[in-house]
Amino acid sequence: MKRRLEVSELIFKILSYVFLTVFAICCLYPFLYAISAAISSREAVEYGQVILFPKGVQFHAFSEMFNNNMFWNSYTNTLFITFYGTLWAMGFSILGGYALSKKRLLFRKGFNFFLVFTMWFSAGIVPQYLNYLNTKEVFDFIGITDDKWLVVIAMGMQAMNIILLRNAFEGVPSEIEEAAIVDGATEMQVLGRVYLPMCKSTIATVALFFAISRWNGYFWARQMITNSNEHPLQVFIRLKLEELQDSEFLTGWDKPYSADSVIYALIVCSIIPILVIYPFIQKYFAKGVNMGGVKE
């Protein structure tokens, strides 16, 4: 039965389309503007003539970026940190989350509290920094001071993600585990062959959370690494921004493109990989939010 649309309903529908369209445009506009400004001519950018579409198209800003070794270097550093950082955090989180999900674990409550407490109370930036300075000898000893490996292992894991994993593992029926043990599976085999395949989507989501936080990491990377060869992309972008906002530096600017275009080009380059994989990972994110840790 087709119902006649009531007036109030119609108004609401129109309102929602209008509102969402405006909001979507607001969300998208800065990125479109960045792309346009990156490929517009120097005059167009500096006199503020670029509004939505590029004016006087040039690709020099991009080609400068692409020919900049430091840029590629920081890009590979970020990929390195994201890959190994996710691996590092995921490995320990899966092991820990699996152990915590077992009811037979002694002092289970205590271990849980040990994790959850870090969500309630954190020492703060300065104590964390002091702790890093005081324990520097450890890293000197391993030989990773001022190295991207330090960023890989630093500040690694969030308790929330481990709890998400623990909850997922708890959801696996214990009969399956018992059956596997009867068949002669060791603890690692139970984890690897039974639990991991059954919690695939949670693991993908949590890995994504870790990867995003690694990809986006800025503050500690900047504090811990002084060697510019080891800087990740985020630090590189920020330093470039600080450099190009310095008006003394800019008075000698004689390139055929604006300094602003360089920053916009950098922004565009840094978000392209995310845009490429974004459609594939989006659904895991939606799932992750709904898991949201609301449990018990």
Binding site: E6, F31, T135, N216, I274
Partner: protein, 353 residues
């Protein structure tokens, strides 16, 4: 099994004293054996405990060791000594922060106030936004159109803080006469709309303390509103269509359906999210503030973390004051989180952790 006291002792009428029950020896033995059994199962499960070790070590090193450094809040600053060997200063740093007499103390109170206000405004303006968006998403019946809207509105969430702040900085930048650069495009829009004067636009919005909170909130909404709507949208689509039909048969218009069907159904989600939000009232992301503020906007932009960061990590650091400030902020923050969690558990049988 609980052991009662009269299980344990028997009254000996001959001597008039209590003495140990003979069976107690057996019970003690069982008890002892019980522990041996427990120990044996633990040993049999040693792999499980080994799995915990790396995670615990990482947390110990990166989360708990720094807490030890907080001891610096009670000790006289001396960078040559380990925090344990420094002399005790009692509560003098806390007193200095509280006093309101020195400029540092005034700065601390300003930072504390800013921290609170930034999250409070976030609560007032940022919190309702995802709910509204979720309600509007629900109105769009076409799946393709809705997916397009969703993909676009989630997008800013995936930008890093650095990329976002860089974009903001560029879009509201100051103009420069010496090198001929026009003000940022957003400032220009605002000037054309008559919302700000041209001088303000030329000076750069990020250099104006009056605009920091607005920029912070609007960029926060821009970044998270679409993505945060996922939770509420999931609650809305979980409503059974029969509820709407029943309401329609009863003659409910759109507004009445909102009021009597949708709102009650998503209320528990809203309350939980609200309580979480209140719980994290003092956890303002320092990274975003750190990347957006400058000397001109300390008045409205400085939060406790950034204040502590400047005190403790800048030139001529004062570790004691920085640690004391962070400790105060984080302890109050923790009390808020625990309080919020307790209320959530009482209100809805749903605990957040």
């Amino acid at each position: 099994m609980k052991i009662k006291s009269d299980d344990y002792l028997v009254y000996d009428e001959a001597t008039g004293k209590y003495r140990e029950d003979a069976e107690q020896a057996v019970r003690d033995d069982v008890e002892k054996r019980h522990w041996i059994i427990v120990l044996r199962t633990v040993l049999k499960d040693w792999r499980l405990y080994l799995m915990l070790v790396p995670m615990l070590l990482v947390f110990l090193f990166w989360r708990y060791f720094p807490m030890y450094e907080l001891l610096g809040a009670f000790k006289v600053d001396d960078s040559n000594l380990d925090v344990a060997d420094q002399l005790y200063a009692g509560f003098s740093y806390f007193r200095e922060l509280f006093s309101g007499a020195t400029s540092t103390s005034l700065e601390f109170w300003r930072a504390f106030r800013n921290t609170f206000l930034l999250s409070f405004y976030g609560l007032c303006f940022g919190f309702p936004m995802p709910i509204i968006i979720a309600l509007f998403f629900n109105e769009i019946r076409s799946n393709i159109a809705r997916s397009v809207y969703q993909v676009i509105t989630y997008l800013p969430k995936f930008m890093s803080t650095v990329v976002m702040t860089t974009l903001i900085t560029m879009l509201v930048r100051q103009s420069s006469l010496t090198i001929d650069i026009e003000m940022g495009i957003i400032s220009k829009f605002l000037v054309n709309l008559g919302l700000i004067t041209e001088e303000v636009g030329h000076a750069g919005l990020l250099n104006n303390p009056g605009f920091f909170r607005g920029i912070y909130q609007i960029s926060g909404i821009w970044e998270t509103a679409g993505y945060d709507s996922i939770v509420f949208f999931a609650a809305i689509i979980a409503i059974s269509p029969t509820s709407y039909e029943a309401a329609q048969i009863d003659g409910a218009g759109k507004m009445a359906q909102m009021r009597y069907v949708v709102l009650p159904s998503i209320l528990s989600t809203v309350i939980i999210m609200l309580i979480t939000r209140i719980g994290s009232l003092l956890n303002v992301g320092y990274e975003k503030v750190l990347l957006l503020y400058n000397d001109n906007t300390y008045v409205t932009a400085d939060v406790v973390s950034t204040f502590a960061q400047r005190m403790g990590m800048g030139t001529n650091p004062s570790i004691g004051l920085a640690s004391a400030a962070e400790m105060l902020n984080n302890v109050v923050g923790m009390l808020l989180v625990i309080g919020a969690n307790t209320i959530a558990r009482k209100a809805s049988d749903v605990s957040l952790y």
